[in-house]
């Protein structure tokens, strides 16, 4: 009987370098390894049924605009018309929802970028306006970090931004953020 398989992050120090800040970190970079993810698409004519099911199961309204709603361990981020990226820090099973549900727990990696210099660091990679007057906690953007497609949301007022990319881009995205953060006191540690 073969041994049970051990889960691994797509990051290793030799492709995603760790950096320690001297003094207070201006920006902190981490990988979120605790998330289950699923892409959920509404089926034709069954949008309301999906919305009702989400409300019933999680007590939140599916956002119709580029927002992210949180309910306990579960969150739903708008990901295009009739499409959401669901996440959970618990063992939530989204597959029972009445829609096209596609597990993305391994398809995507999530990097969190936080701290007083987070916005400045991301401005070297992301061309959207992340100023609090334009983008706040709960806002979502489908954009790109340099040439890497990302789903971006702000998860708290630290501020913390979370960047969701396809898993095999994660090491490059990590390096690019770490490089941009080097002059801004980045603290980048692998999980």
């Amino acid at each position: 009987m073969p041994e049970a398989l051990i889960a691994k992050s797509p990051l290793r120090p030799h492709v995603a370098s760790e950096v320690s800040a001297h003094g207070d970190a201006g920006v902190t970079l981490r990988e979120r390894l605790d998330l289950r993810l699923a892409q959920i698409s509404a089926l034709r004519g069954r949008e309301q049924e999906l919305a009702d099911a989400v409300r019933q199961a999680f007590g939140v309204e599916l956002p119709a605009t580029s927002k992210r709603v949180v309910s306990g361990p579960v969150a739903f981020a708008w990901a295009g018309p009739g499409r959401w990226l669901a996440s959970s820090t618990a063992e939530t099973d989204f597959s029972a929802l009445p829609g096209a549900v596609s597990d993305q727990s391994d398809g995507r990696a999530v990097l969190s970028v936080s701290g007083p210099k987070a916005r400045e660091t991301l401005a070297t990679l992301i061309s959207l306006d992340l100023h609090p007057r334009a983008f706040a906690t709960g806002d979502v953007a489908l954009t790109h970090a340099a040439s890497i497609a990302v789903t971006l949301w702000q998860s708290d007022d630290a501020p913390t931004y979370e960047l969701v990319c396809f898993r095999t881009f994660a090491a490059t995205l990590w390096r690019w953020i770490a490089h941009a953060g080097a002059s801004r006191g980045i603290d980048a540690k692998l999980g």
């Binding site: 009987m1 596609s102 959207l128």
Partner: protein
């Protein structure tokens, strides 16, 4: 004679801080706050470089980024940068600069003999002189011109510095931190708007620091410093020093270059050298001021000839006397300040020449300085060898006065610096009274204020700036309180420089464009030869085409052309400026991501394990794929690859197929959509089965292929080629969103969700059986060829198992969630050890697919139709699909079109080359006789000789025929036999074993 020209007390330089620097190997001292130009002038160094074409001695003309003359090579080694303007280089400790374009030395330059040959080098010289005989061009003329002309030398080593790109958003971008810009930024910033204020300079204030003005009782530099301090205290205001706004683009987007580290020897750790800003601004205030224009006179390029306003900048801002005895030659009242400031600083005024004789302020200043005043006169020429030692002045009656002097301060008026307003095609408008082009229609959201708009007075500039700032803030929803416009010292009535543009006659060279060595005579010649349009003038003479874009030259050249052709300036026209406003290092445009980081690198799930195995990798688009896994004793890729192929064909191998595109397709209409994108049927596919599919572009050409598996009635799992993963996803979304929006189907990319390993070879079933959990049957009966199932492996990890084969052997593809990919490959190797498993790479895969005649990238090359690939009969006749109609075009249905076949060399030891073209034996290799081409070749260990795939016309009739594979580039021609493209197991028995 250290700092012989430094004045005892003036200026903003920090006299307590002395900075050592080198120019042409000699050591000098300057002060913090100096530019290289001001420090050289402080040391009495006037000769700074040699000119482009004639190698004439040149010095400092201006005091900012418009400088056409004082260009140096800055720094050494890999950081050497040519054509750096000494007027913008901030002095730092250890600065090392070299003069350019001189040999053997700056003072004694042999190439200055070019001047003697100057009749040869007139405008358009390269169109005329070197036309005949043409054969001498490469050997003689071009090398000669290259040696004689050109400016600095680029660094030869790779740029060691970092660059950064940065996007910023604001309610208001203010370009220029002079009086108008500061007022605009303050008015909007105080109201709470998000403001970015950018200025090229390292000290903000523009001409407030260059002139001795009084604002609200404070000296103008103090007022500027206080304004800047207030701006920097406002949380929503960003003040960017050393930042040139380069360009205006659509949508309120501006490009700006911040020279983060150019004022220090080497960038600090992790700091970029320069930062390219992309500024998205709802409103912009262009307050870039104005640039002074010279008057052309003989030898007006000699070191010691300087713009009148620049002379004041050196006096007032840097505390440097640009000369000891000056002649001021001007057609404006503004130059009166130069007379007064020079005089006040102890510079003797030898004479004041009021070119039009109508500038009272200039005349009063001359009186105050007790200097001779020449009304309506001109400077015929400056005299001197390596710098001005005197000049010849022609008075209104034509009498010539010789005057000793070491400085000629000249002003022909001021050109509003409104380049950015023209970047989206806005055409400037000539204002006759102000003798200047003023901004016409501006980019949306842009307002031009201050001198840039032709409002040359200080009070006017501040008021207009403040007004624009208030409006921008109110646009952004911030109520700005009224801006108290400060009082300023009295301003005399302005007399604008309305010509004359050149001294009436001179035998000496009178320069219009100093950087490109364009003279008044060149403009006259251009007119004589019919190049009277400004666009022709520019291209014929190269006027304005140097790196300064003719900032001091364009109007002068235009005015002289108008004069020569008897037209007005607006009749003559105007060339628009284009981005960038100032030269930009390519590195800054490239940004942080270069070299290996130019694009993302995608690492498949087995990557780290493959690294441990010593795999050799190959880049496939963004992916790093293992090419082969060398073992000790193997001398090259070929040996390793052959061993890997043989292992798969005789035992078992494992390959990471995770790079294939994978798309999750769900919905009641999933089957209907697949039927529309594939040429063959998928609605009829049974659950638990996979099928090979080919999709076409709308034009009927093959687009991509792969296998799609039906997981349930409404759920399919599609794979695409690695290269086309994104294109296929786009194609599907297009089909759904635009062609058939009524279909109820949803897609999700799951390329990265699954680690998918091909386990291939006669022993593969045993390996798979050892991995799957108890209760799952992988026998041929339970999971036949093209079967698929969901199960668990290694004690509970959910997995998908497909009976697919690309290698042609009994094979499986085992997919697990990607986080288990690393552990999975290790488990497969371990389970396969008893069966002799080895990992194989992309090279072995390629050999095996050629042996099986599978089409891949070289065959799916965008010019091949389904029938060409031998898949014509696969196309369903019962349904419509994308590309069906166009695939039926006569040309594509022509049976004579080249079809996919295999080749083997008649001489079995010969090597086949892809790219070879096929011709019949005995036929002349020519385009007319071209019967096809070879797309893929490999040495086949299974056959013991080279094999190839390719496309051959009328292939069906030609099986067994010997044709010539014609390869004029490499080994020449070889004879090949036309055979089936399947070289291994043509019946497919192994697949189904």
């Amino acid at each position: 004679m250290a700092q012989s020209h430094r004045l005892p007390s003036r200026g903003l330089v920090d006299r307590a801080r002395t900075i050592g620097f080198r120019f042409d190997g000699r050591s000098y001292e300057g002060h913090a706050g100096d530019t290289l130009a001001s420090a050289l002038l402080a040391n009495g160094v006037r000769l700074v470089g040699r000119s482009f074409k004639y190698h004439r001695p040149r010095g400092v003309i201006a005091s900012g980024s418009e400088e056409p003359n004082a260009l140096v090579e800055l720094r050494t080694g890999a950081r050497r940068e040519p054509n750096t303007k000494a007027t913008t280089v901030e002095l730092f400790d250890g600065l090392d600069a070299q003069s350019q374009n001189r040999w053997p030395s700056l003072a004694f330059d042999l190439m200055s003999v070019n001047q003697l040959a100057s009749p040869v080098f007139v405008a358009g010289f390269y169109y005329k002189t070197f036309m005949w005989p043409a054969k001498l061009w490469e050997k003689l003329y071009e090398p000669m011109i290259r040696r004689a002309a050109g400016l600095g030398r680029a660094a030869e080593a790779a740029d060691p510095d970092d660059y950064e790109k940065f996007t910023a958003h604001c309610d208001l971008l203010v370009v220029g931190a002079g009086p108008a810009g500061l007022a605009a930024a303050l008015a909007a910033g105080r109201a709470g708007a998000r403001v970015i204020l950018a200025d090229e300079d390292f000290v903000l204030g523009g001409r407030l620091n260059a002139d001795r003005r009084v604002i609200d009782g404070a000296t103008s530099p103090d007022w500027a410093a206080r304004a800047v301090a207030e701006l920097e205290s406002l949380p929503e205001v960003t003040v960017l020093r050393r930042t040139t706004v380069l360009a205006a683009y659509d949508g309120g987007v501006y490009a700006a270059l911040e020279r983060v580290s150019d004022h220090i020897a080497v960038p600090a750790a992790h700091q970029p050298r320069q930062r390219l800003w992309r500024i998205v601004a709802t409103r912009a205030v262009l307050a870039a001021g104005s640039l002074e224009r010279p008057i052309a006179f003989g030898n007006n390029d000699l070191p010691g000839v300087m713009l009148a306003g620049a002379a004041r900048t050196y006096l007032n801002r840097y505390g440097v006397a640009p000369g000891k005895r000056a002649v001021v030659y001007a057609s404006t009242s503004d130059a009166a300040r130069t007379v007064l400031d020079l005089s006040a600083a102890g510079v003797e005024i030898a004479a004041v020449v009021d070119a039009r004789g109508d500038a009272p302020a200039l005349q009063e200043a001359a009186k105050a300085a007790k200097a001779p005043l020449i009304l309506g006169g001109s400077i015929a020429r400056a005299t001197g060898w390596r710098g001005v030692s005197g000049c010849e002045i022609a008075d209104a009656s034509g009498r010539t006065l010789k005057m000793e002097c070491d400085l000629v301060a000249v002003s022909g008026g001021w050109n509003p610096s409104m380049q950015l307003s023209t970047h989206l095609g806005g055409r400037p408008v000539w204002d006759d009274a102000k003798a200047a082009f003023l901004p016409g229609s501006c980019p949306p959201g842009m307002t031009v204020v201050g001198a840039a708009a032709g409002a040359f007075g200080l009070a006017q500039a501040i008021a207009a700036g403040a007004q624009a700032g208030v409006e921008a803030a109110s646009d952004a929803g911030f109520a700005a309180s009224a801006f108290d416009v400060p009082s300023v010292d009295p301003e005399p009535d302005v007399v604008y420089g309305r010509g004359p543009w050149r001294s009436p006659s001179t035998s000496a060279k009178a320069f219009v464009d100093l950087q490109n060595d364009v003279t008044v005579k060149d403009v006259e010649l251009s007119a004589r030869e019919g190049f009277v349009s400004v666009e022709h003038l520019k291209r014929y003479t190269t006027l304005g085409m140097a790196t300064d874009q003719g900032k001091t030259a364009n109007l002068l050249g235009l005015a002289i052309m108008a004069d020569v052709t008897g037209r007005t300036i607006p009749q003559t026209g105007m060339t628009l400026s284009r981005p960038p406003f100032a030269p930009v290092a390519i590195g800054a445009l490239g940004g942080a991501h270069r070299g290996k980081e130019f694009k993302p690198t995608r690492l498949p799930p087995s990557h780290f394990w493959a690294e441990e195995q010593g795999a050799v990798f190959t880049e496939t688009g963004q992916w790093m794929r293992a090419a082969y896994f060398p073992r000790s004793g193997e001398k090259d890729w070929f040996e390793s690859t052959m061993r890997e192929v043989e292992t798969v064909r005789t035992k078992v191998g494992v390959y990471d197929a995770s790079t294939l595109g994978k798309i999750d397709i769900q919905g009641p209409d999933a089957a209907a959509l697949l039927d529309k994108v594939y040429i063959n049927a998928f609605a009829s596919l049974a659950v638990g089965k996979a099928r090979y599919g080919l999709m076409l572009r709308e034009d009927g050409m093959a687009m991509d292929d792969g296998t799609t598996t039906r997981l349930s009635d409404t759920h399919y799992y599609m794979t695409t080629t690695t290269a086309n993963a994104a294109a296929v996803m786009r194609h599907l979304e297009y089909a759904k969103q635009w062609l058939w929006p009524e279909l109820d189907v949803a897609f999700a990319s799951v390329t990265d969700q699954w680690a998918q390993y091909a386990i291939a070879g006669p022993r593969s079933r045993e390996v798979v059986a050892a991995l799957v959990d108890e209760g799952f049957d992988v026998s041929n009966e339970a999971l036949p060829y093209m079967g698929a199932t969901e199960l668990t492996v290694c004690g509970g990890t959910r997995a998908r198992l497909f009976r697919l084969s690309f290698s042609g052997e009994l094979a499986y593809e085992l997919a697990v969630p990607a986080r288990y990919g690393d552990a999975m490959i290790r488990a497969i190797i371990k389970a396969g050890q008893p069966f002799g498993i080895c990992p194989y790479g992309a090279e072995a895969l390629s050999v095996m697919r050629i042996e099986k005649g599978h089409a891949a990238g070289p065959e799916l090359n965008g010019t091949t139709a389904a029938a060409d690939l031998g898949m014509g009969r696969m196309a369903s006749k019962k349904k419509d699909f994308i590309g069906r109609a166009m695939a039926g075009r006569d040309g594509l249905a022509d049976p004579a079109r080249p079809r996919l076949v295999g080749f083997r060399p008649v001489d079995r030891s010969a090597r086949l080359r892809s790219g070879s073209h096929l011709v019949a034996r005995g036929a002349e290799p020519s385009a007319a006789n071209d019967a096809g081409y070879v797309t893929s070749t490999a040495y086949s260990p299974s056959n013991g000789h080279w094999i190839g795939l390719g496309f051959l016309a009328r292939a069906e009739e030609r099986m067994g025929e010997i044709v010539i594979a014609h390869d004029p580039l490499r080994d020449g021609d070889i004879e090949v036999e036309v055979v089936s493209p399947v070289f291994v197991d043509p019946e497919g028995a192994r697949l189904r074993a």
